[in-house]
């Protein structure tokens, strides 16, 4: 197809446009880190949510904060899947790619669906940028992208023209071009732009000239879509059928922060976050730091060790201590987590996993810290491990982590990952009154008090706030004598206490709800997953089922202890497939725990599974 280039001045009378329905659309905005692509994507998401679609999003940031402009390293992307059906993932391959410069094109074009729309900013494809991206000729013009519908628009030029009267510097004015792209895409997919206009009002209220400029450019982009001949069709994606109620968008990190806050409030305890910044966990610290009027303490510690230690100190004081980090930080915290195991105080450790050992792939996603969470401490050191499945589920599991930590007087590790942390989905807003109760009992009665006298049902020891008269006592990391909590090096006592600690954690299984099986209760194949793979696995399973095949799905949120009914379920299937973004960690645990011949499917690319990859694997297994 011949590339179409549009001159700014060719806007004539509005041609009549066709309207076409689409079930779902996946769009990716890509540009230089300075181009505002995250913001554009987020606003397009809000518009789509307000249009009633179900949505899934995935931002993709460069690892370097200020990579040189125009280079491949500086490309920032944001993908959105919006649909009239249920959405599980941000989508595999975009139908539309918006590329603001050659680097963005080069990094992303491989993902674009054949026949997909490539919308490029003409101005961004100048000689300098082409060279920086390593193009000898302009790919928009040299025929190399013939399998796509190329639409080249002079977004920068039209942005500058629209702002001529405002007397902004060229630099400031051209930075508004992302709103042109947003306006244009909003028209193409029949999104309302009012929410973005309101948002601009609010966001730039301190600089009225930017309110005016961005609003103007947004509308210009929108009207350009209406009048240009480049787009003969306007697409429409009908509202999805989703559970009724009030919604908002949340990212996993926001949901996690809200879950912690809600649980602390339900328990009536002060929330204390001790944390040290690390991607992709830092936004939880940012979020909770805004909740000071709720009495939330956020302490940016000198390192991860101090983060967890300060949280444990707060728990000792009768608050709910929380620490947030990612794999490298969790490695530093493990000794203190083990102290929490020994002193049996509530503590919540959130690991927002990222890719690779050491610094690895800080901005990419992986779920390879399951071993670290379950086995990564010295000695027999069991603690509950939970994992969130979707961005919204981060709320539920954070709440659950606090509840379990308090009920069983134990540290709890909650696993999320970069994909959930930054991904967003519509969230059915809960009512605080309807959340499950979190009873807390501080011991105040001196009569019959022993620091390690356990509750018969939960095996939890009593929680005593320092300051309570008559209950002065000492705790510490040295092995404790059963009941009294005095230091004890007795061999028999050590075995007894080791077993008691393990039994206490095992007792958490009594709180795990029955495992949900999507699909048939027994059969040839069950796909077992955990964490953020939920979306891809669900969509992959649905795709296979849509072809008339039978396959079932189980997704684990409780990884230690495992659900009590899991062994029975696994035995009802001939084949067990365990897709993971690691080398097979849950796989090993399932094989060891249940002696089942489960098979793995492993992707270690810092990228989530594609739905098509999961579906293909299932089909291969079903065909035997």
């Amino acid at each position: 197809m011949e590339p179409m280039t549009v001159e700014t001045q060719t806007v004539g009378t509005a041609p009549t446009k066709r309207r076409e329905q689409r079930e779902s659309v996946v769009i990716r905005f890509a540009g230089d880190s300075g181009d505002g692509m995250q913001l554009t994507g987020m606003q397009f998401t809000t518009e789509s949510a307000l249009a009633g679609n179900d949505i899934g999003t995935l931002p993709d940031f460069p690892a370097e904060i200020r990579a040189p402009a125009g280079t491949l390293a500086g490309v920032s992307g944001f993908q959105l899947n919006f649909s009239s059906l249920e959405v599980y993932t941000p989508g595999d391959n975009p139908d539309v790619l918006v590329a603001m410069n050659p680097a963005a094109l080069k990094v992303n074009i491989g993902d674009l669906m054949p026949g997909g729309i490539l919308l490029a900013d003409q101005d961004g494809f100048d000689a300098g940028n082409l060279k920086k991206a390593g193009y000898a000729t302009n790919p928009l013009e040299d025929g190399s992208l013939a399998k796509y519908q190329i639409i080249v628009v002079d977004m920068t030029g039209m942005t500058l023209k629209a702002l001529e009267d405002l007397k902004l510097s060229n630099k400031v004015a051209s930075r508004c071009k992302n709103f042109f792209a947003l306006g244009l895409c909003s028209w193409v997919y029949s999104r309302p732009i009012e929410p973005t206009l309101n948002w601009i009002q609010d966001k730039f209220k301190k600089t009225p000239e930017l309110v005016e400029a961005n609003s103007l450019v947004l509308k210009t982009g929108y009207h350009f879509g209406e009048t240009t001949e480049l787009f003969a069709v306007q697409y429409e994606v009908k509202p999805a059928r989703i559970a009724p109620g009030k919604y908002r968008n949340v990212t996993g990190n926001t949901a996690l922060a809200l879950g912690l806050l809600a649980a602390a409030n339900k328990a009536g305890l002060p929330l204390f976050l001790g944390s040290y910044p690390i991607t992709p966990a830092t936004d939880i610290l940012h979020e909770l730091a805004q909740y000071k009027n709720f009495g939330v303490y956020t302490f940016q510690a000198e390192d991860e060790i101090a983060g967890v230690c300060s949280a444990l100190g707060a728990s000792f004081g009768g608050g709910i201590g929380v620490t947030t980090s990612s794999g490298p930080g969790i490695a530093l915290k493990q000794e203190a987590i083990n102290l929490a195991v020994m002193v049996e105080l509530p503590l919540v450790i959130c690991n927002i996993q990222r890719g690779g050992p050491s610094t690895g792939l800080p901005t990419k996603t992986e779920q390879a810290d399951l071993y670290q969470a379950i086995f990564g401490r010295n000695s027999d050191s069991s603690l509950p491990v939970l994992a969130a499945a979707t961005p919204g589920d981060c709320f539920n599991m954070a709440y659950e982590a606090v509840r379990i930590a308090i009920k069983y007087m134990t540290p709890v590790i909650l696993l999320s990952d970069g994909y959930l942390a930054n991904g967003a989905e519509p969230w059915l807003i809960p009512k605080f009154e309807n959340l499950p109760p979190i009873p807390v009992q501080f011991r105040t009665e001196a009569e019959g008090f022993f620091p390690y006298l356990r509750d018969p049902e939960t095996l939890a020891r009593p929680w005593v706030k320092p300051g309570t008269p008559g209950l002065e006592h000492r705790i510490g990391g040295i092995e404790k004598e059963d009941v009294t909590g005095n230091i004890s090096y007795s061999p028999a006592n050590h075995e007894l206490m080791t077993r008691a600690r393990a039994r206490k954690v095992a007792a958490v299984a009594q709180d795990i709800p029955p495992t949900t099986i999507r699909g048939d209760q027994a059969g040839d194949l069950v796909v077992v997953g955990w964490g953020s793979t939920y979306g891809s696995i669900s969509a992959g399973v649905d795709e296979v089922r849509a072809r008339g095949k039978t396959v079932s799905q189980v997704h684990l949120r409780y990884l230690n202890p495992l659900p009590p009914d899991l062994g029975g379920i696994l035995r009802r299937f001939k084949t067990i497939l365990v897709p993971e973004m690691n080398m097979g960690q849950l796989l090993t645990i399932l094989r060891a725990t249940y002696l089942v011949d489960a098979v793995g499917m492993n992707k270690i690319q810092g990228q989530p599974f594609k739905v098509s990859e999961i579906a293909a694997k299932i089909l291969r297994l079903l065909e035997g």
């Binding site: 009724p244 908002r248 009027n293 000198e302 300060s310 605080f432 309570t468």
Partner: protein
């Protein structure tokens, strides 16, 4: 009931109220015994109910301390006591939180936490037992051991230059910096009282004898025969005079350095520096004085404690935004209704 009401209503406490039922396991003759005795002596005099005291320690012989105090106590992990104590103090400013640490615990593995607690001015009373050796692990040199120290891990003598704990604390602008000696019962008690009253971090280096692995390191400072000539007692508002015959003193030389002079020998009392705890530059200089070795309060100054500053922020946020409403927070931002 307010804290004050509890304090007045409570029966008078004695030393015994602060002695726990645990057998003390330090080696006979260890300097830690004397320190424990002084702390147990001072606590009941402070007017705070026993349940309001918390002792938090790391790992080492010294860090066994909390087990012997009949207060709330937390024996944590090596080097991390200041971090644990910080979390407790921030969220429970009503408690009197004491940290017990050693020269290895506080200055080697836990050096980072110690300096950050001090620079933040968290209201912790930090007692660093300095025996210039790793006691619990049986006698390796520590970050305060003198250069050339021969130990099992340094058979040919250590080659690393030691920390000066007072200078470290001064270097991070700690607001209360003092030194005392395990066997100087009365002096140590006075310093403990001062530390208790100080708002913010109080750092006390306590020179402590490990009679098993480093016996006699501080002898010249504690031996009755020599100490008058080796120790300089720092007293606010008093001249820096020492010596058996109180005939030696500290002056500021024409080279702007501290100088030891003999009175009468061309120097008169007017030339002697008067100690001023609020004079930070003087404290810096005294921190580096070795002969004589100063004991007492080097520096004390008022600065808002970290936990107070944080408490004020929380209160200001409540004033401005009202007490948090979880439902309102859930509904923040763009929302939409699905019918």
């Amino acid at each position: 009931m307010s804290d004050a009401a509890v304090a007045t209503a409570a029966p008078k406490l004695t030393r015994k109220d602060f002695v726990s039922d645990q057998d003390v396991r330090w080696c006979p003759g260890c300097g830690d015994y004397s320190i424990l005795a002084q702390v147990q002596k001072v606590m009941p005099e402070l007017g705070l109910p026993r349940e309001k005291f918390v002792f938090i320690s790391g790992i080492g012989c010294s860090s066994r301390f909390p087990y012997y105090m009949n207060t709330y106590g937390f024996h944590t992990i090596h080097g991390r006591a200041p971090a644990v104590a910080t979390g407790l103090k921030i969220s429970r400013p009503d408690l009197s939180v004491w940290v017990v640490t050693g020269d290895g615990d506080g200055l080697s593995i836990g050096g980072n936490h110690l300096i950050h607690a001090l620079r933040r001015n968290v209201g912790l009373k930090i007692l660093l037992f300095n025996n210039r050796i790793y006691g619990l692990t049986k006698g390796q040199y520590s970050p305060t051991s003198e250069l050339g120290k021969v130990t099992k891990s340094t058979p040919l003598g250590s080659v690393d230059y030691p920390f000066n704990p007072i200078a470290v604390a001064m270097g991070v602008d700690a607001t209360f910096v003092a030194r005392s000696v395990d066997v100087e019962a009365k002096h140590l008690q006075d310093i403990l009282r001062r530390a208790y009253e100080h708002q913010g971090s109080a750092f006390i280096e306590i020179l402590q004898n490990c009679n098993i692995f480093n016996d006699g390191v501080w002898d010249s400072l504690s031996d009755k025969a020599t100490k008058a000539d080796t120790v300089l007692l720092l007293e606010h508002g008093r001249p820096l005079i020492f010596g058996k015959n109180r005939d030696k003193g500290i002056t500021l030389g024409s080279d702007r350095r501290l100088q030891v002079v003999t009175l009468g020998n061309g120097a008169s009392e007017e030339d002697i520096l008067v100690h001023d705890e609020t004079n930070r530059p003087l404290a810096y200089m005294l921190a580096h004085l070795e002969h004589p070795t100063p004991i007492g309060v080097f520096h004390a100054t008022a600065r808002l404690a970290y936990e107070e500053a944080m408490g004020k922020q929380l209160e200001a946020a409540r004033q401005k935004l009202g007490p948090g409403d979880v439902n309102a927070l859930f509904n923040r931002g763009e929302t939409w209704i699905v019918e």
